[in-house]
Symmetry: C2
Subunit: 332 residues, 2 copies
């Protein structure tokens, strides 16, 4: 990975939580050490595509997620953190790529399909929402990245990216754009503290990196375990037990965890003692992040973002120039 | 109209012909005198949306249509002539407006529907093609124009523009964007020399402003008249007679034309004498345009376009700034 460049990012629509930590932030910290270069995009334009009626939430979150990045250990001197809307070249690339993708191709995208259903758009799907995968193709190709860390729900976007890359290069008979490789996160999507399939801010079932100690404790102690595990001596179920799922994701001593699972299945291990262990684990993980986070100032974050956006823009300008040159539409 | 600003333009996909002259260029010359300001956009990005596989045709036509503008009398010191792709702010505005229009709203657009059918896209409608009306909303709103000269097939675009304008202003509770008024061309669409409903380059049935004298003559003498008008003494039909349609559009002496129509209907007026009159009319109209056109140099045209694009860009920058400020997404 010594010569690799990765690109990743988040829609700023709230602070980041343990689901992000397990699913992407940890992975980014590893890639920060292993790759030559990396970009993290704060995707405000994309967040607006389903929050255009409440942009203030998006804007506020831009600084919040940046605090989360720095607090977990992303090094802005190594990784370029930037704001999508400050890179106008992404809009231009999107417009050109829109000619290379058919409407039915977008409508077939399983992730977009699922999201459209979930969002209850009915007959009024905003064009911006249907088209966000094309805007992602622009994001992915603009910075000459070759690796894109993703969850498996984002694989159709990588597939679309490589289709556009091949189509563009073939059409203009030049190797202008680079195909990319998806780096699948090793951790499965983290479930919510209520046992829901996904921890998310909107469902109110996530533990945030900015949560204080007592909030974390309350959330851990409210977690679902095994509803049939009534007396301590009863045998308990591990599968679908939220406390064990979180221990799997965050408790480092895997041998000890196996012992605990055996003990719980047999009976004789209380939910309270398990929750106490998870609480300690999460407090140890989150408290240094939260303390670092609290020391970070809004102005410093904006400095990081503005500097990062300048650097990112240079890369995007070069890509747009290459794209327009290949098409022959350079006039001056 | 003393305080009005108009915006109009053409897709550069070939030289302009008499259909453009009658339908829009004459109108622009009038507005050039009557309005405070005007913009003419050479819509290369839009032309690429159905010519992305042959961009060289588009690029070449950018200079050709500019020659046509100057040759007919557009004054670049009064009217800002610019190239769409040199105004990146249009791409950014398009991306933001895409959030305010639904996919089904676009699919209902009768002009787009008709064009999709005509182009035989089948199941592979390019996203860029379906979305070009949104890109037109960006074009129309970017330069603070209040008048948009259009043919009646473009009225749905104006309607969409005003919908987006109202929606944006209401959503962000500010009068950021201005509604526009369509200025309908007084001349109906010019039919082709073969009697086809539309004179167009692709149908090969148009007389170009750059055509030489003998080409014009050949085209006039090949025109459809009344197939039942066999002997000079036969009564002839005026309706659907291409020669009369062209005389209606270009022969200035309307009284004389009425006399000719009466005479033709009664019988005794030959097709040849009519064609000779039309030929003289068109030679008189086109020869000074062609001569002016031939004196124009590629470099001069590029100077006009680059200068115009700089002026247009300042206006578009201001609009984009206003749009982003209203949404609150200004960071620096």
């Amino acid at each position: 990975m010594k010569y690799d460049t990765f690109l990743t990012g988040d829609r700023p629509s709230g602070k980041l939580h343990l689901g992000h930590y397990a699913g992407s932030l940890k992975n980014r910290l590893r890639m920060q050490d292993e790759c030559l270069k990396g970009y993290i995009m704060v995707a405000d334009v994309q967040a607006l595509s389903d929050n255009f009626a409440s942009p203030e939430k998006v804007i506020k979150s831009v600084v919040e997620v940046t605090k989360d990045y720095i607090a977990v250990g992303i090094n802005p001197f190594k990784i370029t953190i930037f704001i999508q809307s400050l890179i106008p070249e992404l809009a231009e690339l999107t417009i050109y790529y829109m000619n290379m993708v058919s409407v039915s191709r977008l409508e077939r995208n399983p992730t977009v399909k699922a999201e459209i259903k979930q969002k209850n758009y009915g007959e009024s799907i905003p064009v911006g929402f249907l088209c966000y995968p094309i805007s992602q193709v622009a994001d992915i190709t603009a910075f000459d990245a070759n690796l894109v860390p993703v969850g498996d729900d984002q694989l159709p976007m990588i597939e679309l990216t490589n289709e556009v890359v091949r189509r563009f290069n073939r059409l203009y008979d030049k190797e202008v754009l680079k195909e990319v490789t998806a780096v699948l996160s090793k951790t499965q999507r983290l479930i919510g503290i209520d046992g829901n399939a996904k921890a998310s801010k909107s469902l109110g079932n996530a533990i945030f990196l900015a949560d204080d100690a007592s909030t974390i404790k309350d959330k851990v102690y409210s977690m679902f375990t095994d509803p049939d595990h009534i007396r301590v001596s009863d045998p308990g179920k591990v599968d679908g037990n939220v406390v064990f799922t979180y221990l799997d994701a965050f408790f480092e001593n895997k041998e000890e965890l196996e012992e605990l699972k055996k003990h719980y299945k047999k009976g004789g291990l209380s939910d309270i003692s398990l929750k106490s262990l998870l609480n300690k684990t999460l407090q140890d993980l989150i408290s240094p992040i939260r303390e670092k986070r609290e020391s970070l100032k809004q102005d410093e974050m904006m400095d990081i973002l503005i500097t990062g956006s300048k650097i990112a823009r240079e890369a995007a300008k070069q890509t747009l120039y290459n794209v327009k040159s290949a098409m022959g539409i350079t006039y001056c």
